[in-house]
């Protein structure tokens, strides 16, 4: 095990995969000379040169398009779009090209690309730099979507994403940048589609992903003091979803609280709730609860942003409402 930060894990995983496979390259704005705004690619230009660490113009459609074309030719692009909010300007390349090509072409091509991007509010970045839009990408057959909550999961999931033969949305969270954690050394791959039980419990299942996992864990500790023993599942992979893990947990607990940072309406929690209602109805002793953001854009003012982001208290209240 090595201690490293979330950002270091991103950087080191890319480095390791670039050393391992000469077809892996990185393209995006400010990934080279600057090493990205928070240092996610620091030093990689120096080590791998400008052919493999490409500082691009501010041309997001062309960045993702470049990745699609290069992937079709057998390369393994890591495409960086700093904030998920900017994905809106290159959606055709993601939705109609990357995620569909293989199917439309009758399986003739593989598109093994990764799009690294950050979600999340909490730093006063306002409505166009704070969204959690991961659900958008779960509505695209052909695309996988994963989200890492810890440095170790960064390593395991990013390695898996880079080695995967399909397009993968790799979702980071901007408030986790400095989070430190133990990261396994050597080759470490977390299969995409495997959830992680981050806390064992028997009374209620709290399910989440990305930064919210940490709030769920904190809420679970508070609940434990009041005699409620919560199991916390980090699904890690939205598509494909580890249904088995979720249903097994419900078999023990009978209660489900889904927590996500994105707005509640049409958030991915709705998909999970529907899946459980369909396949796990008999396991439930209480209605499924969702804890998510209100259906508004993210406000700037720290006072409003704090109100907007799901809090530990809201998670605790939701859990208690089931007992």
């Amino acid at each position: 095990m090595a201690k490293m930060s979330y950002i270091e894990a991103i950087k080191e995983t890319q480095r390791a995969e670039m050393q391992r496979d000469p077809n892996v390259f990185i393209a995006g704005e400010d990934v080279g000379v600057m090493g990205s705004a928070f240092g996610q690619t620091a030093g990689l230009l120096k080590e791998f040169g400008p052919q493999r660490v490409v500082d691009t113009p501010i041309s997001e459609s062309a960045i993702i398009g470049l990745g699609v074309g290069a992937a079709a030719m057998g390369l393994r692009p890591i495409l960086v779009i700093d904030f998920i909010d900017f994905m809106a300007v290159c959606m055709d390349e993601v939705l109609n090209q990357a995620s569909k090509l293989r199917y439309m072409l009758g399986g003739q091509v593989k598109i093994p690309l990764v799009i690294r991007t950050q979600i999340g509010a909490g730093i006063g970045a306002a409505a166009q730099h704070s969204q959690s839009l991961e659900a958008f990408f779960t509505h695209m057959p052909g695309m996988k979507t994963v989200a890492a909550a810890t440095p170790a999961d960064i390593k395991g999931l990013l390695t898996a994403a880079i080695r995967d033969d399909n397009p993968v949305m790799f979702i980071e969270h901007k408030t986790l940048a400095r989070l430190e954690g133990d990261v396994p050394e050597g080759d470490y791959v977390i299969p995409i589609g495997k959830a992680d039980i981050k806390r064992k419990g028997s009374d209620v299942t709290i399910l989440s992903w990305s930064a919210m996992v940490h709030k769920c864990l904190a809420a679970a500790e508070s609940l434990a003091q009041e005699g409620i023993n919560a199991e916390v599942i980090d699904i890690r992979s939205l598509v494909p979803l580890d249904k088995e893990c979720i249903l097994n947990s419900l078999g023990k607990t009978g209660r489900l609280v889904i927590v996500h940072e994105a707005v509640e309406t049409s958030g991915y929690g709705a998909e999970i709730a529907a899946m459980v209602a369909d396949q796990g109805f008999d396991l439930l002793d209480a209605p499924i609860k969702r804890v998510a953001a209100p259906f508004t854009p993210v406000p700037f003012s720290p006072v409003l942003e704090k109100e907007w982001v799901v809090s530990e208290e809201k998670i605790i209240d939701a859990v208690k409402s089931l007992f």
Binding site: M34, I123, A125, A127, P299, F300, V303
Partner: protein, 320 residues
Amino acid sequence: MNLDREKMLNLYENMVKIREFEEKARELMLGGKLAGFLHLYCGEEAIAVGVCANLNDKDCITSTHRGHGHIIAKGGNIDKMMAELHGKATGYCKGKSGSMHIADLNIGIVGANGIVGAGLPIAVGVAFAMRYKKMDNVVVAFFGDGASNRGTFHEALNMASVLNLPVVFVCENNHFGMSTPQSVHQKIKDISVRGTAYDIPGKTVDGNDVLAVYEAAAQAVSRAKNGQGPSLIECKTWRHYGHFIGDPEPYKDPEEQKKWLARDPIPRFAKQLIELNYATQAELDAIKDSVKEKIEAAVKYAQSSPDPLPEDVFSDVYAE
């Protein structure tokens, strides 16, 4: 250049106002008083001021993530701006926007924008509506060198051209898109040449010379108002600070930085004003002092203003 004394001093005052506003905002952010991202306009003041001096309150602008200068030059209220940076209920957008989305529709500020290149097509739409409503007005779209590589730049210029709309596209070429030097993000040196592709006249001017900017904008504005369609003006400039506060700027050559600081548009214009007998140093100092007082008052206003109420999260999502 036939500008009277009052107008000349007005240009100076507005440039100083932007500079002092930005220096204050920087100080507040470094002191932990402001949240979010702050992209400072220091060094580029001559562009916003030279362009907006040609506009009236019904003329419009679209701005960028680096928008404070445009807003001040267009007549924005610095109390409300400062309150917005502080996330206060009295801010321009009731605390919903922060630095990056300030707007004042009453005086034609259609809005700053957090998405690079987003303002250009919106400006085309505003111009379309102006013509639709038979208004005799013009829209200025401000954007950076980096933004000129987005599809929206190309689509907006072409559409404004074919629809012959009253838009002035003003490119602030500060030679970097975040950390990426212009020479790395595009092969052309003069972004004004891109006008040719859309049959739009393109002109490059010294963006640190407020009178040069003023004159180029005057021509483009009158062209637009005469129904002769859009123009593209590229203003060469330099941002004195990093991309945002906190950017260590490893990509800037210290020699270049020095060279450009020596071309600071404000002392440069001050020198001109004195040499041409528009003002004495003492008069310019007095302008600066009074601006500083206004900025201090704006900070007081902002810091003594109430926060929004938690329930304000839910307001203004939809029109009622």
